[in-house]
Protein backbone atom coordinates (compact mmCIF):
# COMPACT_ATOMS: atom_id res chain seq x y z
CA UNK A 1 0.00 0.00 0.00
CA UNK A 2 1.46 3.32 -1.01
CA UNK A 3 2.29 5.99 1.53
CA UNK A 4 -0.60 8.05 0.21
CA UNK A 5 -3.11 5.24 0.69
CA UNK A 6 -1.75 4.65 4.20
CA UNK A 7 -2.17 8.33 4.96
CA UNK A 8 -5.82 8.30 3.95
CA UNK A 9 -6.35 5.82 6.74
CA UNK A 10 -4.16 6.97 9.60
CA UNK A 11 -4.60 10.73 9.30
CA UNK A 12 -8.37 10.76 9.87
CA UNK A 13 -8.04 8.00 12.47
CA UNK A 14 -5.48 10.01 14.40
CA UNK A 15 -7.60 13.15 14.20
CA UNK A 16 -10.65 11.28 15.49
CA UNK A 17 -8.67 9.77 18.32
CA UNK A 18 -7.30 13.16 19.30
CA UNK A 19 -10.80 14.65 19.33
CA UNK A 20 -12.11 11.83 21.50
CA UNK A 21 -9.25 12.21 23.95
CA UNK A 22 -9.85 15.95 24.16
CA UNK A 23 -13.54 15.31 24.82
CA UNK A 24 -12.70 12.83 27.57
CA UNK A 25 -10.24 15.24 29.12
CA UNK A 26 -12.69 18.13 29.15
CA UNK A 27 -15.39 16.04 30.79
CA UNK A 28 -13.07 14.74 33.48
CA UNK A 29 -11.23 17.94 34.23
CA UNK A 30 -14.36 20.05 34.46
CA UNK A 31 -16.39 17.38 36.25
CA UNK A 32 -19.25 17.56 33.78
CA UNK A 33 -22.05 15.26 34.92
CA UNK A 34 -23.04 12.41 32.57
CA UNK A 35 -26.55 13.73 32.10
CA UNK A 36 -25.14 16.90 30.55
CA UNK A 37 -22.23 15.53 28.53
CA UNK A 38 -21.10 11.95 28.97
CA UNK A 39 -17.45 11.10 28.43
CA UNK A 40 -16.55 8.88 25.46
CA UNK A 41 -15.45 6.13 27.84
CA UNK A 42 -18.91 6.13 29.42
CA UNK A 43 -20.57 6.13 26.01
CA UNK A 44 -18.52 3.12 24.95
CA UNK A 45 -19.31 1.29 28.18
CA UNK A 46 -23.02 2.04 27.76
CA UNK A 47 -22.84 0.88 24.14
CA UNK A 48 -21.24 -2.36 25.25
CA UNK A 49 -23.69 -3.08 28.04
CA UNK A 50 -26.70 -2.36 25.80
CA UNK A 51 -25.21 -3.98 22.74
CA UNK A 52 -27.84 -6.65 22.18
CA UNK A 53 -30.83 -4.31 22.14
CA UNK A 54 -28.98 -1.58 20.26
CA UNK A 55 -27.81 -4.01 17.60
CA UNK A 56 -31.36 -5.19 16.96
CA UNK A 57 -32.44 -1.60 16.48
CA UNK A 58 -29.38 -0.90 14.36
CA UNK A 59 -30.22 -3.75 12.03
CA UNK A 60 -33.73 -2.42 11.61
CA UNK A 61 -32.48 1.06 10.76
CA UNK A 62 -30.00 -0.41 8.29
CA UNK A 63 -32.77 -2.47 6.74
CA UNK A 64 -34.86 0.63 6.19
CA UNK A 65 -31.89 2.65 4.94
CA UNK A 66 -30.78 0.15 2.33
CA UNK A 67 -34.30 -0.75 1.34
CA UNK A 68 -35.04 2.90 0.74
CA UNK A 69 -31.76 3.39 -1.10
CA UNK A 70 -32.46 0.49 -3.44
CA UNK A 71 -35.94 1.80 -4.09
CA UNK A 72 -34.54 5.28 -4.67
CA UNK A 73 -31.97 3.87 -7.07
CA UNK A 74 -34.52 1.89 -9.03
CA UNK A 75 -37.10 4.66 -9.00
CA UNK A 76 -34.69 7.49 -9.66
CA UNK A 77 -32.92 5.76 -12.54
CA UNK A 78 -36.12 4.55 -14.18
CA UNK A 79 -37.75 7.94 -13.91
CA UNK A 80 -34.62 9.61 -15.27
CA UNK A 81 -34.60 7.24 -18.24
CA UNK A 82 -38.28 7.98 -18.88
CA UNK A 83 -37.67 11.71 -18.68
CA UNK A 84 -34.65 11.46 -20.98
CA UNK A 85 -36.65 9.61 -23.60
CA UNK A 86 -39.85 11.65 -23.37
CA UNK A 87 -39.76 15.38 -22.91
CA UNK A 88 -43.52 15.48 -22.54
CA UNK A 89 -43.50 13.12 -19.56
CA UNK A 90 -40.66 15.07 -18.03
CA UNK A 91 -42.57 18.34 -18.22
CA UNK A 92 -45.63 16.68 -16.77
CA UNK A 93 -44.03 14.79 -13.89
CA UNK A 94 -41.00 16.81 -12.86
CA UNK A 95 -43.01 19.27 -10.72
CA UNK A 96 -44.27 16.34 -8.62
CA UNK A 97 -40.73 15.15 -8.10
CA UNK A 98 -39.70 18.62 -6.93
CA UNK A 99 -42.70 18.89 -4.63
CA UNK A 100 -41.74 15.59 -3.04
CA UNK A 101 -38.18 16.75 -2.59
CA UNK A 102 -38.98 19.94 -0.73
CA UNK A 103 -41.69 18.55 1.53
CA UNK A 104 -40.24 17.97 5.00
CA UNK A 105 -40.77 14.38 5.96
CA UNK A 106 -41.25 15.27 9.59
CA UNK A 107 -44.50 16.86 8.45
CA UNK A 108 -45.70 14.15 6.09
CA UNK A 109 -44.50 11.04 7.93
CA UNK A 110 -47.51 11.01 10.25
CA UNK A 111 -49.80 11.50 7.26
CA UNK A 112 -48.27 8.60 5.38
CA UNK A 113 -48.76 6.47 8.44
CA UNK A 114 -52.47 7.20 8.26
CA UNK A 115 -52.71 5.96 4.69
CA UNK A 116 -50.29 3.05 4.98
CA UNK A 117 -50.90 0.96 8.05
CA UNK A 118 -47.50 -0.72 8.30
CA UNK A 119 -44.76 1.17 10.13
CA UNK A 120 -42.00 -0.38 8.05
CA UNK A 121 -43.72 0.54 4.80
CA UNK A 122 -44.27 4.14 5.84
CA UNK A 123 -40.66 4.52 7.00
CA UNK A 124 -39.47 3.07 3.68
CA UNK A 125 -41.64 5.53 1.81
CA UNK A 126 -40.37 8.50 3.82
CA UNK A 127 -36.72 7.53 3.46
CA UNK A 128 -37.31 6.88 -0.24
CA UNK A 129 -38.77 10.36 -0.71
CA UNK A 130 -35.71 11.92 0.87
CA UNK A 131 -33.22 9.82 -1.08
CA UNK A 132 -34.60 9.59 -4.58
CA UNK A 133 -34.34 13.13 -5.85
CA UNK A 134 -30.53 13.45 -6.04
CA UNK A 135 -30.42 10.21 -7.98
CA UNK A 136 -33.18 11.33 -10.34
CA UNK A 137 -31.73 14.76 -10.89
CA UNK A 138 -28.11 13.67 -11.31
CA UNK A 139 -28.92 10.73 -13.54
CA UNK A 140 -31.05 12.94 -15.77
CA UNK A 141 -28.22 15.43 -16.15
CA UNK A 142 -25.89 12.54 -16.88
CA UNK A 143 -28.19 11.11 -19.54
CA UNK A 144 -28.25 14.51 -21.16
CA UNK A 145 -24.48 14.97 -20.95
CA UNK A 146 -23.55 12.40 -23.51
CA UNK A 147 -20.89 13.53 -25.98
CA UNK A 148 -22.80 15.17 -28.85
CA UNK A 149 -20.37 13.70 -31.37
CA UNK A 150 -21.13 10.22 -30.10
CA UNK A 151 -24.82 11.08 -30.32
CA UNK A 152 -24.30 11.99 -33.98
CA UNK A 153 -22.34 8.80 -34.54
CA UNK A 154 -25.17 6.69 -33.19
CA UNK A 155 -27.65 8.58 -35.33
CA UNK A 156 -25.47 7.84 -38.32
CA UNK A 157 -25.37 4.14 -37.48
CA UNK A 158 -29.14 4.05 -37.16
CA UNK A 159 -29.30 3.29 -33.45
CA UNK A 160 -32.78 2.95 -31.94
CA UNK A 161 -33.74 4.81 -28.77
CA UNK A 162 -33.02 1.76 -26.67
CA UNK A 163 -29.68 1.17 -28.31
CA UNK A 164 -28.78 4.77 -27.68
CA UNK A 165 -29.76 4.37 -24.04
CA UNK A 166 -27.76 1.17 -23.66
CA UNK A 167 -24.59 2.00 -25.55
CA UNK A 168 -24.24 5.72 -24.91
CA UNK A 169 -26.63 7.35 -22.47
CA UNK A 170 -26.40 4.83 -19.66
CA UNK A 171 -22.59 4.65 -19.50
CA UNK A 172 -22.38 8.44 -19.89
CA UNK A 173 -24.77 8.85 -17.00
CA UNK A 174 -22.98 6.44 -14.69
CA UNK A 175 -20.53 8.95 -13.14
CA UNK A 176 -23.38 11.32 -12.44
CA UNK A 177 -25.43 8.50 -11.00
CA UNK A 178 -22.60 7.53 -8.68
CA UNK A 179 -22.29 11.15 -7.56
CA UNK A 180 -26.01 11.19 -6.80
CA UNK A 181 -25.74 7.87 -5.00
CA UNK A 182 -23.06 9.23 -2.71
CA UNK A 183 -25.46 11.97 -1.65
CA UNK A 184 -28.49 9.72 -1.43
CA UNK A 185 -26.76 7.14 0.73
CA UNK A 186 -26.47 9.55 3.63
CA UNK A 187 -29.92 10.97 2.97
CA UNK A 188 -31.52 7.54 3.11
CA UNK A 189 -30.06 7.08 6.58
CA UNK A 190 -31.23 10.50 7.72
CA UNK A 191 -34.65 9.84 6.22
CA UNK A 192 -34.94 6.50 7.96
CA UNK A 193 -34.04 8.01 11.33
CA UNK A 194 -36.10 11.20 11.05
CA UNK A 195 -39.14 9.37 9.70
CA UNK A 196 -39.00 7.06 12.67
CA UNK A 197 -38.84 10.01 15.04
CA UNK A 198 -42.04 11.31 13.54
CA UNK A 199 -43.94 8.15 12.74
CA UNK A 200 -42.33 5.21 14.45
CA UNK A 201 -44.06 3.25 17.17
CA UNK A 202 -42.20 1.92 20.16
CA UNK A 203 -42.09 -1.79 20.81
CA UNK A 204 -42.24 -3.61 17.58
CA UNK A 205 -40.23 -2.77 14.44
CA UNK A 206 -38.05 -0.18 16.05
CA UNK A 207 -34.79 1.29 14.90
CA UNK A 208 -32.18 3.56 16.42
CA UNK A 209 -34.47 6.58 16.39
CA UNK A 210 -36.78 4.93 18.90
CA UNK A 211 -33.80 4.05 21.08
CA UNK A 212 -32.67 7.67 20.97
CA UNK A 213 -36.13 8.96 21.85
CA UNK A 214 -36.60 6.44 24.59
CA UNK A 215 -33.27 7.33 26.12
CA UNK A 216 -34.14 11.01 25.84
CA UNK A 217 -37.48 10.65 27.58
CA UNK A 218 -36.01 8.54 30.33
CA UNK A 219 -33.06 10.89 30.82
CA UNK A 220 -30.56 8.18 29.91
CA UNK A 221 -28.18 10.55 28.20
CA UNK A 222 -25.21 8.16 27.79
CA UNK A 223 -27.51 5.72 25.98
CA UNK A 224 -28.62 8.52 23.67
CA UNK A 225 -25.02 9.14 22.79
CA UNK A 226 -24.43 5.43 22.28
CA UNK A 227 -27.31 5.19 19.80
CA UNK A 228 -26.17 8.38 18.07
CA UNK A 229 -22.69 6.92 17.76
CA UNK A 230 -24.13 3.97 15.92
CA UNK A 231 -25.97 6.33 13.57
CA UNK A 232 -22.75 8.23 12.89
CA UNK A 233 -20.80 5.03 12.27
CA UNK A 234 -23.48 3.85 9.87
CA UNK A 235 -23.27 7.12 7.97
CA UNK A 236 -19.52 6.78 7.67
CA UNK A 237 -19.79 3.20 6.49
CA UNK A 238 -22.28 4.23 3.82
CA UNK A 239 -19.94 6.98 2.67
CA UNK A 240 -16.99 4.60 2.43
CA UNK A 241 -19.08 2.01 0.61
CA UNK A 242 -20.27 4.52 -2.00
CA UNK A 243 -16.72 5.69 -2.54
CA UNK A 244 -15.58 2.12 -3.04
CA UNK A 245 -18.41 1.52 -5.49
CA UNK A 246 -17.39 4.62 -7.39
CA UNK A 247 -13.82 3.46 -7.64
CA UNK A 248 -14.93 0.04 -8.76
CA UNK A 249 -17.21 1.21 -11.53
CA UNK A 250 -15.40 4.34 -12.67
CA UNK A 251 -11.82 3.90 -11.56
CA UNK A 252 -10.60 2.64 -14.86
CA UNK A 253 -11.78 5.54 -16.90
CA UNK A 254 -13.41 8.54 -15.21
CA UNK A 255 -11.35 11.58 -14.15
CA UNK A 256 -13.29 11.86 -10.91
CA UNK A 257 -11.86 8.60 -9.65
CA UNK A 258 -8.32 9.08 -10.88
CA UNK A 259 -5.84 9.08 -8.06
Amino acid sequence: MSALRRATIWVPAAAALAALMAWEAVVRLRGIPPYILPAPSLVVRTLWSNLDSLLVSWLYTIKITFGALLLALAGGVMLAAVFALSRALELALYPFAIALQVTPIVAIAPLILIYVDSTTASLLICAFIVAFFPILSNTLVGLRSADPNLQDLLTLYGATRWQRLRWLLAPSALPYLIAGLKISGGLALIGAVVAEFAAGAAGRETGLASRILEASFRTEIPKMYAALTLVALTGMAIHLASNALGRLLLGHWHPSERR
Partner: protein, 257 residues
Protein backbone atom coordinates in the same frame (compact mmCIF):
# COMPACT_ATOMS: atom_id res chain seq x y z
CA UNK B 1 -18.33 -0.44 -52.70
CA UNK B 2 -18.63 3.29 -52.90
CA UNK B 3 -21.38 5.77 -53.72
CA UNK B 4 -21.47 9.05 -55.59
CA UNK B 5 -22.38 12.19 -53.68
CA UNK B 6 -24.44 14.97 -55.19
CA UNK B 7 -25.50 18.31 -53.76
CA UNK B 8 -28.00 20.13 -55.97
CA UNK B 9 -28.60 23.85 -55.27
CA UNK B 10 -28.49 23.28 -51.55
CA UNK B 11 -29.31 26.05 -49.09
CA UNK B 12 -28.97 25.59 -45.37
CA UNK B 13 -30.42 28.08 -42.93
CA UNK B 14 -30.34 27.33 -39.23
CA UNK B 15 -33.16 28.04 -36.81
CA UNK B 16 -31.37 31.13 -35.53
CA UNK B 17 -31.50 32.64 -38.99
CA UNK B 18 -27.84 32.08 -39.88
CA UNK B 19 -27.42 30.93 -43.47
CA UNK B 20 -24.54 28.47 -43.57
CA UNK B 21 -24.48 27.63 -47.24
CA UNK B 22 -26.28 28.98 -50.25
CA UNK B 23 -26.93 27.56 -53.72
CA UNK B 24 -24.28 24.92 -53.31
CA UNK B 25 -23.92 22.39 -56.08
CA UNK B 26 -21.24 19.72 -55.80
CA UNK B 27 -20.88 16.40 -57.59
CA UNK B 28 -18.42 13.81 -56.33
CA UNK B 29 -17.92 10.59 -58.24
CA UNK B 30 -17.96 7.27 -56.46
CA UNK B 31 -14.61 6.38 -54.97
CA UNK B 32 -13.15 9.85 -55.28
CA UNK B 33 -11.06 11.44 -52.53
CA UNK B 34 -12.10 15.07 -52.25
CA UNK B 35 -10.95 17.77 -49.84
CA UNK B 36 -13.11 20.63 -48.69
CA UNK B 37 -11.04 23.69 -47.88
CA UNK B 38 -11.96 27.14 -46.77
CA UNK B 39 -11.76 29.81 -44.06
CA UNK B 40 -13.63 29.43 -40.80
CA UNK B 41 -17.34 29.85 -41.00
CA UNK B 42 -17.69 29.04 -44.67
CA UNK B 43 -19.86 26.06 -44.05
CA UNK B 44 -17.49 23.14 -44.64
CA UNK B 45 -18.63 21.19 -41.61
CA UNK B 46 -22.23 21.95 -42.53
CA UNK B 47 -21.69 20.39 -45.93
CA UNK B 48 -20.30 17.29 -44.28
CA UNK B 49 -23.26 17.05 -41.93
CA UNK B 50 -25.66 17.54 -44.84
CA UNK B 51 -24.00 14.70 -46.69
CA UNK B 52 -24.16 12.54 -43.55
CA UNK B 53 -27.85 13.30 -43.23
CA UNK B 54 -27.35 14.77 -39.76
CA UNK B 55 -28.81 18.02 -41.12
CA UNK B 56 -31.56 18.47 -43.69
CA UNK B 57 -31.18 21.08 -46.46
CA UNK B 58 -33.51 24.10 -46.31
CA UNK B 59 -33.64 24.03 -50.11
CA UNK B 60 -32.22 21.80 -52.79
CA UNK B 61 -31.38 18.11 -52.56
CA UNK B 62 -28.61 15.92 -51.26
CA UNK B 63 -28.24 12.53 -52.90
CA UNK B 64 -26.01 9.62 -52.00
CA UNK B 65 -25.68 6.95 -54.62
CA UNK B 66 -28.74 8.39 -56.34
CA UNK B 67 -30.95 8.23 -53.27
CA UNK B 68 -31.82 10.98 -50.84
CA UNK B 69 -29.35 11.15 -47.96
CA UNK B 70 -30.82 10.05 -44.64
CA UNK B 71 -28.87 9.52 -41.52
CA UNK B 72 -29.32 5.84 -40.83
CA UNK B 73 -28.83 4.79 -44.39
CA UNK B 74 -26.06 2.32 -43.84
CA UNK B 75 -22.59 2.55 -45.21
CA UNK B 76 -21.59 6.03 -44.12
CA UNK B 77 -18.88 6.72 -41.61
CA UNK B 78 -17.85 9.94 -39.94
CA UNK B 79 -14.55 10.81 -38.33
CA UNK B 80 -14.59 13.80 -36.01
CA UNK B 81 -11.82 16.14 -35.03
CA UNK B 82 -11.83 14.53 -31.60
CA UNK B 83 -11.33 10.78 -31.60
CA UNK B 84 -14.79 10.48 -30.03
CA UNK B 85 -14.14 7.14 -28.39
CA UNK B 86 -16.29 5.91 -25.51
CA UNK B 87 -13.95 6.27 -22.53
CA UNK B 88 -15.65 3.53 -20.53
CA UNK B 89 -15.09 0.82 -23.13
CA UNK B 90 -11.94 -0.84 -24.36
CA UNK B 91 -10.59 0.11 -27.76
CA UNK B 92 -11.76 -3.20 -29.22
CA UNK B 93 -15.34 -2.61 -28.11
CA UNK B 94 -15.21 0.95 -29.36
CA UNK B 95 -14.28 -0.23 -32.83
CA UNK B 96 -16.88 -3.00 -32.66
CA UNK B 97 -19.67 -0.57 -31.74
CA UNK B 98 -21.06 0.19 -35.23
CA UNK B 99 -21.47 -3.50 -35.93
CA UNK B 100 -23.11 -4.20 -32.58
CA UNK B 101 -25.62 -1.45 -33.30
CA UNK B 102 -26.33 -2.89 -36.69
CA UNK B 103 -27.14 -6.20 -35.10
CA UNK B 104 -23.94 -8.23 -35.20
CA UNK B 105 -23.19 -10.71 -32.41
CA UNK B 106 -20.45 -9.79 -29.98
CA UNK B 107 -17.92 -12.39 -31.10
CA UNK B 108 -18.31 -11.64 -34.79
CA UNK B 109 -18.15 -7.90 -34.21
CA UNK B 110 -15.02 -8.22 -32.10
CA UNK B 111 -13.39 -10.36 -34.72
CA UNK B 112 -13.94 -7.71 -37.37
CA UNK B 113 -12.83 -5.03 -34.98
CA UNK B 114 -9.59 -6.89 -34.41
CA UNK B 115 -8.92 -6.92 -38.11
CA UNK B 116 -9.64 -3.22 -38.41
CA UNK B 117 -7.29 -2.49 -35.53
CA UNK B 118 -4.62 -4.60 -37.12
CA UNK B 119 -4.99 -2.57 -40.29
CA UNK B 120 -4.17 0.61 -38.36
CA UNK B 121 -1.40 -1.03 -36.38
CA UNK B 122 -3.23 -1.09 -33.04
CA UNK B 123 -3.79 -4.83 -32.71
CA UNK B 124 -1.71 -5.01 -29.54
CA UNK B 125 -3.69 -2.19 -27.90
CA UNK B 126 -7.08 -3.72 -28.46
CA UNK B 127 -7.58 -4.38 -24.74
CA UNK B 128 -6.56 -0.93 -23.58
CA UNK B 129 -8.87 1.87 -22.52
CA UNK B 130 -8.83 5.09 -24.56
CA UNK B 131 -7.33 7.03 -21.68
CA UNK B 132 -4.20 4.91 -21.99
CA UNK B 133 -3.57 5.84 -25.63
CA UNK B 134 -1.79 8.80 -27.15
CA UNK B 135 -3.65 11.28 -29.35
CA UNK B 136 -2.37 9.70 -32.51
CA UNK B 137 -3.33 6.19 -31.42
CA UNK B 138 -6.82 7.34 -30.47
CA UNK B 139 -7.26 8.89 -33.90
CA UNK B 140 -6.12 5.65 -35.55
CA UNK B 141 -8.67 3.78 -33.47
CA UNK B 142 -11.28 6.25 -34.64
CA UNK B 143 -10.27 5.56 -38.23
CA UNK B 144 -10.45 1.85 -37.61
CA UNK B 145 -13.98 2.27 -36.31
CA UNK B 146 -14.92 4.34 -39.35
CA UNK B 147 -13.67 1.71 -41.74
CA UNK B 148 -14.77 -1.46 -39.94
CA UNK B 149 -18.21 -1.33 -41.55
CA UNK B 150 -16.69 -0.96 -45.03
CA UNK B 151 -18.63 2.25 -45.68
CA UNK B 152 -19.57 3.53 -49.09
CA UNK B 153 -18.89 7.07 -47.97
CA UNK B 154 -16.20 8.22 -45.55
CA UNK B 155 -16.57 11.70 -44.09
CA UNK B 156 -13.71 13.27 -42.16
CA UNK B 157 -13.98 16.61 -40.35
CA UNK B 158 -10.44 17.92 -39.76
CA UNK B 159 -9.47 14.67 -38.08
CA UNK B 160 -5.78 15.43 -37.70
CA UNK B 161 -6.00 19.11 -36.79
CA UNK B 162 -5.28 18.51 -33.13
CA UNK B 163 -2.18 16.42 -33.67
CA UNK B 164 1.45 17.37 -34.03
CA UNK B 165 2.95 17.64 -37.50
CA UNK B 166 4.92 14.40 -37.50
CA UNK B 167 1.94 12.34 -36.35
CA UNK B 168 -0.18 14.20 -38.83
CA UNK B 169 2.04 13.29 -41.76
CA UNK B 170 2.17 9.68 -40.66
CA UNK B 171 -1.60 9.50 -40.33
CA UNK B 172 -2.01 11.10 -43.74
CA UNK B 173 -0.14 8.16 -45.22
CA UNK B 174 -2.04 5.64 -43.17
CA UNK B 175 -5.33 7.17 -44.22
CA UNK B 176 -4.37 6.98 -47.86
CA UNK B 177 -3.33 3.36 -47.43
CA UNK B 178 -6.63 2.46 -45.75
CA UNK B 179 -8.59 4.34 -48.34
CA UNK B 180 -6.72 2.54 -50.98
CA UNK B 181 -7.86 -0.88 -49.71
CA UNK B 182 -11.61 -0.19 -49.58
CA UNK B 183 -11.82 2.94 -51.73
CA UNK B 184 -14.94 4.56 -50.32
CA UNK B 185 -15.93 7.99 -51.54
CA UNK B 186 -14.05 10.25 -49.16
CA UNK B 187 -14.79 13.87 -48.26
CA UNK B 188 -12.03 15.40 -46.14
CA UNK B 189 -12.55 18.79 -44.50
CA UNK B 190 -9.35 20.60 -43.63
CA UNK B 191 -7.76 23.96 -42.96
CA UNK B 192 -4.45 22.90 -44.35
CA UNK B 193 -3.71 23.51 -48.00
CA UNK B 194 -0.78 21.11 -47.92
CA UNK B 195 -2.83 18.35 -46.43
CA UNK B 196 -5.62 18.89 -48.92
CA UNK B 197 -3.25 18.72 -51.88
CA UNK B 198 -1.34 15.75 -50.50
CA UNK B 199 -4.39 13.61 -49.88
CA UNK B 200 -6.98 14.33 -52.52
CA UNK B 201 -7.80 14.10 -56.16
CA UNK B 202 -9.85 17.24 -56.05
CA UNK B 203 -9.81 20.25 -53.79
CA UNK B 204 -13.06 22.14 -53.40
CA UNK B 205 -12.48 25.63 -52.07
CA UNK B 206 -15.39 27.25 -50.29
CA UNK B 207 -15.75 30.82 -49.13
CA UNK B 208 -18.04 33.58 -48.10
CA UNK B 209 -20.82 33.77 -45.60
CA UNK B 210 -23.08 32.03 -46.49
CA UNK B 211 -20.67 29.53 -47.99
CA UNK B 212 -20.42 29.03 -51.74
CA UNK B 213 -18.16 26.97 -53.90
CA UNK B 214 -15.34 29.26 -55.00
CA UNK B 215 -13.07 26.86 -56.83
CA UNK B 216 -12.97 23.22 -57.90
CA UNK B 217 -9.35 22.25 -58.48
CA UNK B 218 -8.27 18.85 -59.73
CA UNK B 219 -4.98 17.57 -58.30
CA UNK B 220 -3.14 15.70 -61.01
CA UNK B 221 -0.72 13.79 -58.87
CA UNK B 222 -0.39 10.03 -59.03
CA UNK B 223 -1.19 7.54 -56.26
CA UNK B 224 0.36 6.09 -54.22
CA UNK B 225 1.58 9.36 -52.75
CA UNK B 226 4.70 9.37 -50.65
CA UNK B 227 6.25 11.92 -48.30
CA UNK B 228 8.86 12.73 -50.89
CA UNK B 229 6.05 14.23 -52.96
CA UNK B 230 5.94 17.22 -50.66
CA UNK B 231 9.32 18.37 -51.92
CA UNK B 232 8.51 18.16 -55.60
CA UNK B 233 7.70 21.17 -57.78
CA UNK B 234 4.31 19.86 -59.02
CA UNK B 235 3.20 19.68 -55.41
CA UNK B 236 4.24 23.23 -54.74
CA UNK B 237 2.54 24.35 -57.96
CA UNK B 238 -0.74 22.81 -56.96
CA UNK B 239 -0.47 24.32 -53.51
CA UNK B 240 0.08 27.73 -55.02
CA UNK B 241 -3.04 27.37 -57.13
CA UNK B 242 -5.04 26.34 -54.15
CA UNK B 243 -3.66 29.14 -52.00
CA UNK B 244 -4.65 31.60 -54.66
CA UNK B 245 -8.18 30.27 -54.70
CA UNK B 246 -8.24 30.38 -50.94
CA UNK B 247 -7.18 34.01 -50.89
CA UNK B 248 -9.96 34.83 -53.33
CA UNK B 249 -12.33 32.95 -51.04
CA UNK B 250 -11.17 34.89 -47.99
CA UNK B 251 -11.45 38.16 -49.88
CA UNK B 252 -14.96 37.19 -50.77
CA UNK B 253 -15.71 36.58 -47.12
CA UNK B 254 -14.27 39.96 -46.17
CA UNK B 255 -16.27 41.71 -48.82
CA UNK B 256 -19.82 43.07 -48.56
CA UNK B 257 -22.48 40.55 -47.48
Amino acid sequence: MSAAIELDQVDKRFANGVAAVQALSIAIAAGQFVSLLGPSGCGKSTVLRLVAGLEQPSAGRVRIGGEAAQARSAAMSYVFQEPTLMPWARVLDNVALPMRIQGAARAAAREKAHQALAAVGLADRAGAYPAELSGGMKMRASLARALVTRPAVLLLDEPFAALDEITRHRLNDELLALWGTQVPTAVFVTHSVFEAVYLSQRVLVMGGRPGRLVADLPIALAYPRTPALRLQPQFTQHCRTVIGALQRAEAGAAGPR
